[in-house]
């Protein structure tokens, strides 16, 4: 089983990423529409919390939480969409049998950056949740995700590896 080139594992993963990209685009459209609707139209949030483990007394707070969650959800999906988009392009170069394409360095750095931003967003979110609805935080809990930070570092190191690969590729191209 080949890892690179047409008909390889990379091309199979590229197809999965293409499907995920379409699904995320649709998801982003739906969540953004719902977030805008929640922002600009009045709605009764009680039906959402009927079976929830926590009990929110104030409907206004519940509405703010729903709207905030939808906006955060849209931001999160947009971030994942950027990551999947960059991964698609990286896997396109792998499928073409050219892993050390110079653009892959920029793409990997962007993935690392978005991963870091998505993780950083969680901290103020937890603070705001603790302030608005302590019951929610008590139910779900919060702790910094060390795996996410580890992934960020790994992606940045990989970007450097690809930078070195791209440099060697360039040098090989200019060796006659």
């Amino acid at each position: 089983m080949r890892a690179l080139g047409p008909g390889s594992v990379s091309s199979f993963l590229k197809i999965i990423l293409d499907v995920a990209h379409v699904a995320l685009s649709v998801g982003l459209g739906v969540v953004t529409t719902l977030a805008l609707a929640a922002l600009f139209f009045h709605f009764d949030p009680k039906f959402l919390f009927r079976d929830a483990e926590f009990n929110l007394a104030d409907a206004q707070t519940a509405r703010q939480i729903v709207t905030g969650s939808l906006i955060l959800g849209a931001i999160y999906i947009a971030g994942v969409l950027v990551i999947v988009g960059r991964l698609r392009r990286i896997f396109a170069t792998l499928t073409a049998g050219d892993p050390f394409h110079p653009d892959n360095v920029r793409r990997l750095r962007m993935i690392g950056l978005v991963l870091a931003v998505l993780e950083l967003i969680r901290y103020p979110t937890a603070l705001i949740t603790a302030w608005l609805a302590p019951e929610v935080l008590a139910t779900r809990g919060f702790s910094p995700n060390l795996t996410a930070w580890f992934a960020v570092l790994v992606v940045f190191v990989l970007a450097e590896v690809f930078r070195e690969g791209a440099r060697l590729r360039r040098e090989a191209e200019l060796t006659i």
Binding site: P102, D103, V105, R106, R163, A166, R167, R170, E171, L174, T175, I176
Partner: protein
């Protein structure tokens, strides 16, 4: 001898021969140098020469 004929005899593409000719090449293989000297009936010193100037920047082309 034309450039096409030389490229054919040496076993490199015309594009690579052009890179070599314009001084854009980063390195030259001994096998290429050997073939060039054989076909042109010359010494390596007739093909490559040192020109004083700032040191080559190895990072300049890294991200294309």
């Amino acid at each position: 001898m034309s450039l096409t004929e030389l490229a054919d005899r040496v076993g490199v593409t015309i594009a690579n021969l052009s890179i070599l000719k314009t001084g854009k090449a980063r390195a030259i293989r001994f096998s290429t140098l050997d073939a060039l000297c054989r076909e042109l009936d010359c010494q390596p010193g007739d093909i490559v020469a040192f020109e004083p100037g700032p040191p080559m920047d190895l990072e300049e082309d890294e991200e294309g």
